[in-house]
Symmetry: C2
Subunit: 263 residues, 2 copies
Amino acid sequence: MKVLLKVQYMGTAYCGFQCQKNGASIQEVLTRAAGRVFGMPCSVTGCSRTDAGVHALGYVCAVAPADGARGADWCTVPPGKIHRAFAPHLPPDISVCAAAFAPDFFHPRYDAVEKEYIYQIWDAPWETPFFRDRSYHSVRRISPEGLSQMQAAAAAYIGRHDFRAFMAGSAERDTVRTVTRAQVRREDEHMLAFSVSADGFLYNMVRIMAGTLLEVAAGRMMAEDIPMILEMRDRSRAGFTAPPHGLYLREVRYPEEILWQCE
Amino acid sequence: MKVLLKVQYMGTAYCGFQCQKNGASIQEVLTRAAGRVFGMPCSVTGCSRTDAGVHALGYVCAVAPADGARGADWCTVPPGKIHRAFAPHLPPDISVCAAAFAPDFFHPRYDAVEKEYIYQIWDAPWETPFFRDRSYHSVRRISPEGLSQMQAAAAAYIGRHDFRAFMAGSAERDTVRTVTRAQVRREDEHMLAFSVSADGFLYNMVRIMAGTLLEVAAGRMMAEDIPMILEMRDRSRAGFTAPPHGLYLREVRYPEEILWQCE
């Protein structure tokens, strides 16, 4: 048996969920906390590597005893109370918001069938103390026309496409992904949100999609260019890689519903 | 001539806008920054004393040369660019978001005719990293019935009443205020916002109003009790003083429209 955690974190102070380099990772912090909560060395497996500075609203990870199978009874905390057991062992920028039990064969990354990301854009000439490190700052206000161009461009991402032009590096061979939803909305007077769901994402894919939408908003690219950019499969045709601090992993979906609990 | 600033700040690290005690105040930081921006000692007058930990989305203050009248030309920065001149001299938790010119007789506190505050309530069993220090945490979820009770209670605040029961201390003689708007809305899955506008507020008035609404949500007080609490003019009849970190000064209104500029 594994324990699944749904986790929220502000990524600002971390080098990502998982990392080899120096600097604290979310995984390290959760592994240490899980050891204290369950009273034994634990391993924590994540649903995705997030970049340094990227945030999560619904990250999913699995906790299991580090020394392998222990039977079903190694976790004596009821799932609905696990968030409370973790709270005293976590820093203020990481929270467990729900938990569930899952079978041993469950893998939060390989079993995921859909992920949803949000990219937040603050568009005012001044920087706000409330969204520093939490949104991309567009000094220029995005007009209603700019917004509708962004919306048209986002719609062009939807479907099964080869997203090679929207990938950093060249490690991944299979660059075909299915985007099921992509939309841009004005959430507030100075805040836009680009949300996108897909069966999987390539390295930096959402950040390059967001950067491309920002080029469209600025009039340097056109919504009608997106199909051509996808077809050319050439990274240099797409927009810049928008910085990590506007990005949030919002939700991860699995084929079977997970019974998240939190009391 | 005075320069008006519209300011946003996260109050967490400060002892309030103005303070005598040890600890940094927003006023101190702005006074120092204004000195650098305008190249002369300046005085900064605020629209309200906010408590330690209280935030502001639209605080208004006036800047003038410290040594008195200098004529109209002491400020050579166009109002639309003042926010940019301040940015390098302010910490990340304080921003100038717009500026305007005002006549010498303008006083941001005495000339204000209406203020609007928001009190944010996060209602989930778990604490979120994104709203710590930015909302009151109600561990218990507020039900739709609880919310409609809060809405009914908030509606009872509206009107011209003696708000002595909703004031800390006893310094103020005239405790009659006119509340022009008071409502509670669910903003998000786990976030409620109480917003209230009045011609003025007594010391801790919004925090006691919010605490009373939280008692109503918990079923310990009833919406129907509010008129009686107002009438009794007895602090002990109202609810607890909700903590400062859920509170935001949202807007201050003046009889004549201020031409805020920001490019």
